[in-house]
Each structure stands twice: as C-alpha cells, then as structure tokens.
C-alpha cells in the first residue's frame, strides 16, 4: 500500500508540475507576434502608423509594441485605437512612458471576439519632431509587437495545457521522450518490486 502511494504521489507530482501548475498561474497566452525588425519608424503627427493582425485565440487583452524615445526627451501624447469587427478600445499615454528603447505594454478590457478575428491598430501622436520618437518596425513598416489573450477559466486553461504539453512532447526529440518516460516507468517499477 505504501509503495502504491509512493508511485501515485510521484507521478501525480509530475502531472501537477507539468500541467496543473501552469494552468493555475498562467492567465494569459502570447499569440500572433512580429518579433523581427530593427528599423526606426519616425513617429510624428504627419506620420501615423496603422497595422493589422489576425488573432489566434479569443479574448485579446493586451498588445506590446517596441518603441524608442532617445534619452526619454519626448513627452508628446500618443493615441492608440484597436478596432475589431464589433468593438474598439482607445488608449492614451505619453512619450515619458516610452524608454530608450522599451516594449510598451498596451493593456485594455479584453475583446470578446473569437479566434481568427482581424484587428486594426492605429497609432497617432502629437509629436512634431522627427528625431525623438520612434516605433521599431520591420522593412514593411510592420511594428515589432506581441499580442496576449486572457485565459482565466481554469477548466479551459487545464485543457489548453494538456493539449499544449502533448504538442510539446510530440515536437520533442524522440530519444529524450524515450529516456524520460523510460525513467518514469523504471522508477515506478523499482519502487513497486523493491523491498
């Protein structure tokens, strides 16, 4: 009986660490992003920037955009409008919130649209000086950005994590999987048969 508890405890603790633990704490998921780009798009009143992306989960809740305010000199207002098919969000912040460089977090009330929704992000500013406020973009003027999606429901989060772990295991090297699961099996067997 003691051995059985030991085996159940050990295997359960692995499941806890690998699936349940992330489900409890990870409340948002990163989705579509553009992580490549080192161009500095001079961001002024006359040069607004608009870009589009398709969501890959529901409940879009924040967008992180890479910007640069050299020496944190510029304190102009920056306006952001995120528009979905049924709803939109507007945010305002100042140049002093932009570092040199910084990934600027734009957090808002989550959208309720389903996955694969097309969003438009429009960035405008009161800045008139071309040399001290920039958006980091790729060569097609697409900003370096990351999107995040709310995930607060434990049950759906748990299901998501189970699928995600299965997906990771599937993509992982076969030798590692064999060694790893072989070790679990061997340990269970060892505890079971040994005095």
């Amino acid at each position: 009986m003691k051995k059985t508890f030991l085996i159940i405890g050990l295997n359960l603790s692995l499941v806890m660490v690998l699936v349940v633990f992330p489900s409890v704490f990870i409340r948002s998921r990163q989705g579509n992003s553009n992580t490549n780009g080192n161009q500095q798009f001079s961001f002024t009143t006359n040069r607004p920037l608009t870009f589009y992306f398709n969501s890959n989960f529901s409940d879009l809740q924040s967008i992180f955009i890479d910007m640069k305010n050299p020496n944190i000199d510029n304190n102009s207002k920056i306006y952001v409008k995120i528009s979905g098919p049924t709803d939109s969000r507007q945010l305002t912040f100042s140049g002093s919130n932009v570092g040199d460089p910084a990934t600027v977090p734009l957090k808002f009330l989550p959208f309720t649209d389903p996955p694969l929704t097309k969003y438009q992000v429009s960035l405008t500013t009161e800045n008139t000086k071309s040399e001290n406020l920039f958006i980091i973009t790729n060569q097609n003027n697409l900003p370096v950005f990351k999107t995040f999606y709310q995930q607060t429901n434990f049950k759906s989060n748990l299901m998501f994590n189970i699928n995600r772990q299965l997906d990771i295991i599937h993509n992982r090297n076969l030798i590692f999987n064999l060694i790893y699961f072989g070790t679990i099996f061997f340990l269970d067997y060892y505890i079971l048969i040994h005095d």
């Binding site: 633990f21 704490f25 948002s28 998921r29 990163q30 990771i168 992982r172 790893y180 070790t183 505890i191």
Partner: protein, 398 residues
C-alpha cells in the same frame, strides 16, 4: 531501504525533475564555452574583438580553467545533444525560449552536475560516516535548488573543496592541490583557504608550502593571459570582491573585519573544528554580503558536517534562516529567479508578474527596502544562532 536503493531513487527523481528548470546563466555560459570547440583559446580577446557580431555580447567573467574545463565538457556532451542545440545557444531573440527540446538540452547539460552532486553526497558520507547525512544531502530541496534549478557550475569547485577536506589527513599536498583546482575555477575558495590551512598545520613552513601548492593551479592557468588587458577587464567585471566590501560602518567594510576575527578564532583555537568555523563564516556572509543565491552552495555541504547538525534546535534555526533567505531571493528584481525557472514547462511563465513587481505595484512597497529588512532579520537570527551554538559548546565541555 538499503543505501543503493536510496541512491537509485535519488538519481531517478533528479532525472525526472532536472529537465524542467532553467536559469539563463546556464545558456550564457554555454554560449561562451562553445568557442573552445571552434579552436578559440583566448576567450577574453575573442569576445572583445567580436563583440559587435555576437548574438550575446556580455564578457566572460570567469577564470581560464573554467573555460577550458567546461568547454571540454561541452565537447564531450555535444554528441548526446539533439541537432539544434547550438542554434538554441546562439538564439538570444524573442523566440529564445520557444524550443521544444529545451528540457533535453538541460538534462544533458546537467548530467555532469548530477555526478558531482552524488560525489558530494559520497564525500559527506565518508567524512561523517552518517547515512542520515547522506539522505539529508540527497533529498533536501536546498541542494536541488542550488545545483539543478540555478544550474551553475559552482558545484565543481564545491566538490573540489570538499574532496580537499577529505584528503587533508591522507595527503596534505594533494589535498591543497585539489583545493587549488577549486580556486582556479572560481576565486571564492580563497575565503575558505586559511581555515583549511590552519586545520592541516599551523607551522609556518607548512602554511607557506600548502599556500603555494594551493595557488599553483591558479597561477599556472592565468599566466598565459596575464599580459592581456581583455582578460583583466572581463575578470574584474565579476561581483564578489565588490560585494564583500559593500556594507560599511564608519567607512570601514564590516565583512573583512569580522572575517579576520573568525580567522583569528580559527588560528588560536586548539579545536580542529573546520565545519563550525565555516558555519560562522556562512552566517557572516549571508548577513553582511548582498549575495546571489547560487553562492550559498559554497557553504552548504560544510554545514552538514556540523556536529549535531540533525538536532532539532539546529533544524529549527536553519529552517528559519532558509525561510528568510527564500524571501530575500524572491525580492530580487529578476523574474529568472522566480517564474523564469519554469520556462521549459511553458515559456509563458516569464511573462507572469514577478513578486518584486507584485509588491511594488499592488502593495506600493519598496521591495529593495524589504530585502534589506530581510537581511537585518537574517543577521539577527545569525547572532542568536552563534550565541546558542557557543553556549552549547561551553556546556558540552564543562
């Protein structure tokens, strides 16, 4: 359960858990170690010359023997790695954590640590003849955290210092040569060296001979780099020397002064109780140095050598100190010391709010101030601990 079974279970549990804990130091060190396989001998000059072309631009702040040892280890381990290991080592972009094989790399990279961890357990068993101490070493969360979660190579010099202690009664010269290897890998054993010298012999001739032997590996390994400014520049980028003189009273650094007092105690004491001396040094260190968590490993095996380590009173005090050290660690402004360790399970962990930010943004408290308060508490507990420890020793003698 017999000892073999205990060791087998300890190994298997480690194999199950070590792939899923990460710290970026392991990657940055392996980024530098990879250049040995490309024929780079002077890593300091190479990094200085190629700084602008490299994916990771920090200097290599360790000693030459560290580079050659772990560069060689990486060469040996490379055939066990999946094909894209070097791609991961070179990837410092946004996608650096999105590698499904990350647990595989970590498992292989930590295999040498597993051997050294077991080696330390073996030495502790030989030094104490206590099966209980061996079990304590193999199944306590502190050594697991320090060796496998932080994943730093400090476990090698720690192994050498303990091996040196084991060798002292058998062959003092060999013992100090082994100690010298630890110094040549990382300079911190210099803090422990005088204590080792005193328990070996207090005769001037022996002190000088053993000191020279202990310094030989360091001197031999840095001579080829001594004329290279890039070496010195990189080397003085490391933190320990600065940190031990950081806390001052009347502009006098307190740690060195109290260190000398403990050293005097060790020199004039007739007892050959190295573990107590290192234990006091440990308490002094955690009280007066703004330490990085990985540095705790330097002392941890020696604490287990303490007489009556397993007594209830000691356990309670050690538990209290461990709790406050944990709080101290959680208050670092570094998500890689908290959630970031779990990246191999899910890269999203790095985006979770760190305890530092949580305290700052939700409770509107200054985490750095709280960290200093925690250190005062650790210092107070340490004083209480030393008082009761000395009192017990006196009672024991009378």
């Amino acid at each position: 359960m017999n000892t073999k079974t205990i060791i087998a279970i300890a190994i298997l549990i480690r194999l199950l858990f070590i792939p899923f804990f990460y710290h970026p130091d392991m990657k940055s060190q392996n980024f530098h170690f990879q250049f040995l396989s490309q024929g780079v001998v002077n890593i300091y000059q190479y990094l200085s010359d190629n700084k602008n072309h490299l994916a990771y631009r920090d200097t290599f702040n360790y000693l030459p023997l560290t580079y050659f040892t772990f560069g060689s280890v990486q060469i040996v381990l490379r055939p066990l790695m999946p094909a894209n290991f070097l791609k991961w080592v070179d990837d410092w972009s946004f996608s650096q954590n999105n590698y499904p094989n990350l647990p595989y790399y970590l498992l292989i990279l930590k295999l040498p640590y597993l051997l050294l961890d077991l080696g330390i357990g073996y030495l502790l068993f030989k030094l104490t003849s206590s099966r209980q101490i061996l079990i304590y070493w193999l199944f306590n969360p502190v050594s697991f955290y320090l060796i496998y979660i932080l994943g730093n190579f400090d476990v090698l010099p720690v192994f050498f210092t303990l091996f040196s202690l084991y060798l002292i009664p058998k062959n003092a010269h060999l013992s100090f040569f082994v100690f010298g290897l630890a110094i040549a890998l990382k300079l911190y054993p210099l803090l422990l060296l005088p204590f080792f010298l005193f328990i070996s012999s207090k005769k001037i001739k022996n002190l000088v001979t053993n000191s020279i032997i202990a310094m030989l590996p360091l001197i031999i390994s840095i001579i080829p780099f001594a004329a290279n400014p890039a070496f010195w520049q990189s080397f003085f980028g490391s933190g320990l020397t600065q940190k031990i003189i950081e806390i001052k009273y009347l502009n006098i650094p307190i740690f060195p002064v109290l260190y000398l007092i403990i050293l005097g105690y060790a020199f004039f004491s007739n007892k050959k109780n190295l573990s107590t001396q290192i234990f006091y040094l440990f308490l002094l260190f955690i009280s007066l140095v703004n330490f990085h968590p990985q540095w705790l490993l330097w002392f941890f095996p020696f604490l287990l050598l303490q007489p009556n380590f397993i007594s209830t009173k000691n356990q309670i005090m050690i538990l209290l100190i461990c709790i406050f050290i944990t709080i101290y660690i959680l208050l670092f402004n570094d998500n890689y010391l908290t959630w970031g360790h779990l990246i191999p399970i899910d890269p999203e962990f790095i985006n979770l709010t760190s305890p530092y930010d949580l305290i700052r943004l939700k409770l509107h408290l200054d985490p750095q101030h709280l960290q200093q308060v925690t250190k005062y508490i650790i210092a107070t507990l340490s004083i209480i601990f030393v008082y009761f420890h000395e009192k017990n020793l006196l009672n024991h003698r009378s």
